[in-house]
């Protein structure tokens, strides 16, 4: 079945139907209609999958998809246009540009924590770039997967974009097929398997993975505001966000203050009993519930810690004095547990971060510019937000992606379009000026070699910063001046 899907899509792609910009815009508009007209159904599915509140759904999924669609629709003309580049003397009269072209059939594998955004945002870029696409939503968010499979063919060209549902077996079968790009969001472990499968067909991949995103709180900062922002980012979606602040690093002297501020904020956000708050989500399933709960062993609970397996509920929990060798520090938490690891200042914090895999996101809270600068320049991560959390994800002009163990490639806004396009280098020459070409043809003579080198180089242009046209203009001006002098001389 998976082979039929992939082969069928390839045939449809080769018909050329997805190339005209008009077609792509039409599909984007249809996608927008899907999420606006069926918003309630989507909210209902997410409520069943994650106990997600309707506002949370709009805030974290639908608004970003909508914005991406609108941006793509309005900018598509620019994005898809040929991009002229710098020339050398040899190519001064030629057309030289980069032409963005579709890749073909792309496979987008989604994940369960933001089942709509993680699959539809890449789809927006795939459509904009003129590709066909297979979507494989996560089976763990089964209501969303089922709804997506039902809705997509009702709005989009069902021959060009298809949803394949199923579990591990179906995904493995899909990965045996040949695609022109695979876009995967999920864990590093599965990311390696995806890359391995892609290797057989030499398929390029984008891997949006995870890791432990550190959050350093400097003692010189507004701790109250910092804690509010961190609490929001950590416990939204019950901590099940790839860029949630995974753990806090701070000096021992401010640990208690941090706990106090988080406590105040939790009360404000979810009231006394988060379990009955309509704004607090659940863990996706009992397997993850068990996994997250087990991470609390060995730890000292400063706040929260309550749980209810029947509801997959784990209270917003803060753990203090966590040590680096604890289990909770060995894997990405992906749940509502916030460990605090104490360090003696910025040097130790930087060293701690650099001793671990490069994370998807890094956060630093400080009023001291030197602290921020050092954190930025002495560490590496997919992205950074300073003095807040999650927010760099939301600016579509920033490329979003990981580095090292946290992933490869990037997307959002125009970056998705670029990621799912081939940038074809084009040199359009005429047969004119064949005389110039003599310089490069054998047999070798010293004169020919000198001429060939001269026309190839950029040194004249680049090093002095003067462009070709400035030189030509200058020569023309001198020529005109000489002509003028001659004319005047003759007249006089």
């Amino acid at each position: 079945m998976e082979k039929q899907v992939a082969d069928g899509l390839r045939e449809v792609f080769q018909s050329g139907r997805s190339r005209p910009l008009q077609y792509r815009k039409q599909q984007l508009r249809a996608l927008l209609r899907l999420i606006t007209e069926r918003q309630e159904d989507i909210e209902q599915a997410l409520k069943q999958d994650l106990n997600r509140n309707t506002y949370n759904t709009s805030l974290f999924e639908l608004i970003s998809i909508e914005n991406d669609i609108k941006l793509a629709e309005s900018e598509l003309g620019d994005w898809a246009a040929p991009r002229p580049v710098k020339k050398n003397l040899n190519s001064a009269l030629d057309d030289v540009y980069i032409k963005p072209e579709p890749l073909g059939v792309v496979l987008i594998i989604g994940t369960w924590n933001y089942p709509w955004a993680m699959i539809l945002q890449p789809l927006v870029g795939a459509i904009a770039a003129g590709n066909a696409a297979v979507l494989k939503p996560s089976e763990l968010s089964e209501h969303s997967a089922r709804l997506m499979k039902e809705l997509l063919p009702l709005y989009l060209d069902k021959e060009m974009y298809q949803v394949v549902t199923g579990g591990v077996a179906e995904t493995q079968e899909l990965l045996k097929q040949r695609f022109d790009h695979i876009f995967y969001t999920g864990s590093s472990t599965v990311g390696k398997l995806v890359m391995e499968a892609a290797a057989h067909h030499l398929t390029p991949v984008t891997l949006e993975l995870g890791g432990k995103s550190p959050c350093y709180i400097d003692k010189n900062c507004d701790i109250a505001v910092a804690c509010r922002r961190i609490t929001w980012g950590k416990f939204a979606n019950c901590g099940q966000t790839c860029i949630a602040p995974d753990y806090i690093l701070c000096e021992p002297s401010i640990q208690d203050r941090i706990v106090e501020e988080i406590q105040k904020t939790l009360l404000e956000f979810y009231q006394k009993d988060p379990k009955s708050s309509p704004d607090y989500c659940r863990i996706i399933n009992t397997r993850h519930f068990d996994r997250v709960l087990a991470l609390m062993n060995e730890c000292t609970i400063a706040l929260g810690g309550e749980s209810d397996r029947s509801q997959c509920f784990i209270a917003p929990t803060v753990l203090k004095d966590v040590l680096p060798h604890f289990k909770i520090m060995q894997e990405e938490i992906f749940g509502p547990l916030l460990p605090i690891v104490t360090v003696n200042g910025l040097n130790e914090a930087i060293h701690f971060i650099n001793a671990r895999e490069k994370p998807l996101a890094l956060y630093v809270f400080s009023s001291d510019k030197t602290v921020i600068k050092r954190m930025l320049t002495e560490t590496s991560s997919g992205g950074v937000t300073v003095n807040d959390v999650l927010m760099h994800y939301t600016v579509d002009s920033l490329p979003f992606g990981g580095v090292g163990n946290s992933g490869m490639g990037r997307y959002h806004g125009r970056h998705t379009f670029d990621q799912l396009s081939h940038h074809r280098a084009c040199l359009i020459k005429s047969f004119a000026m064949e005389g110039l070409n003599d310089a490069r043809y054998p047999p070798l003579t010293a004169a020919r070699l000198r001429k060939a080198k001269f026309f190839m180089q950029h040194r004249m242009c680049s090093c002095s910063g003067i462009c070709v046209w400035a030189i030509i203009a200058t020569l023309l001006a001198i020529g005109l001046l000489v002509a003028l002098i001659v004319v005047l001389t003759v007249l006089i």
Binding site: Y55, A425, R448
Partner: protein, 473 residues
Amino acid sequence: MESQKQVLERLRAAFRSGVTLPMHFRLTQLEAMMSLFEDNENQILEALHEDLAKPKFETVLSEIEIVVNDICYAISNLQTWMQPTYVGTNLATKLDDCFVRSEPLGVVLIIGAWNYPLHLILLPLIGAIAAGNCAILKPSEISRATEKLLAELIPKYLSQECYAVVCGGAEETKTLLENRFDHIFYTGSQSVARCILLAAAVHLTPVTLELGGKCPCLIYGRLDMKAAAKRLVWAKFFNTGQSCVAPDYVLCTTETRDALLPFIKEALESFYGSDPQQSPDLGRIVTDRHWDRLVELLKKSEGKIVIGGESDKKTKYIAPTVIVDVIESDALMQEEIFGPILPIITIKSLDEAINFVNEREKPLALYAFSDESQVVTTVLERTSSGGFCSNDGIVHMSLPGLPFGGVGASGMGNYHGRWGFETFSHKRGCMMRSWLLECVNVLRYPPYNESNLSWLRWATTAKKKGWAACSVM
């Protein structure tokens, strides 16, 4: 002698020390690379001659000048490339700074190829250095003299802390690939590329693969036969056809073929004289094994040799050869030729030519020769390839403004000029939020309500062209 692991550990320690980060360091290394070329031109000419009987002309243009140009381009532009790029923000984030930092990846591995043994390893190195990485170079063992030269010169000119050359064959490369790198840049064949990708998957290492394929050359419609022939012959027989972007085969009508052949003969004679074997401007096949493969292809081919066909095993010589009446199933059409043999396949229409190309793997380069711009446009619009050049061959790769790379089976990723810098960089999205306006952040905090959501929607919808949208304040 250091083991591979020791080399890697040394480079990793150097990278961690931050020595490659300052612009001054990178510029010094690039200038040192320039000196490497300036001081050693004769040794370079000799090494390339020993490996491939490469004529001086070709070595200067395709191994020295092209690399030196790129070094200069990098030196002039490095400061700009290294600057963070500020991106648009909207009303909600006006008090914040959003920018993209270009950061080095760490320790990268660059595996070269034998056909342009200096160029294909040093051009990527320019990008790696410019982007602030450390690098291990693994030159091809097939081009032995150049391998030896690189092993001698790189430590002499570049920082030994940060850049190292590792020599060896398939076994050594396999062992090298078991280590963890932050990027692997490979130029070579598809079968080895698969192994490299599998090795990279173990460590989630991103890769750039510069592969090959059969680069078609469509010649159609009205054209300047003489110029077309000269350019085609130059591009095909440069480096004795051993170029990943050489026009592999020609597609044209019978009439065009018959009109073109005399001009091809004329061009060959003007380039290499009446006896190409005596010309100092024609190279040789790299090894006996490669020579055997090509001669075997010629034997198996059912086409008719109209030009050339002669060969001499002792000197690894194969004459510039043109074969006509080649059909799809011919031996010459089953693999990348990578030699001085040019099959001409006749087609009846442009559609037929385009379909022929599209039934095959996407090539690294595609050429269209025609004086009719509509023909060129049609070919460009209806095909896919790494790069495209009309009315000439190979030269598109000499422009550092253009990214050079494949698509599909011909590769992934690209380099040259700024693209090399980008390939070896991580583009880190950064947002510096203000401490102010925490009251406005309230809109996003629980307890959630309808009116907050409406405000958020309004404040974050992309209203104006060029403004970045911010989904959640």
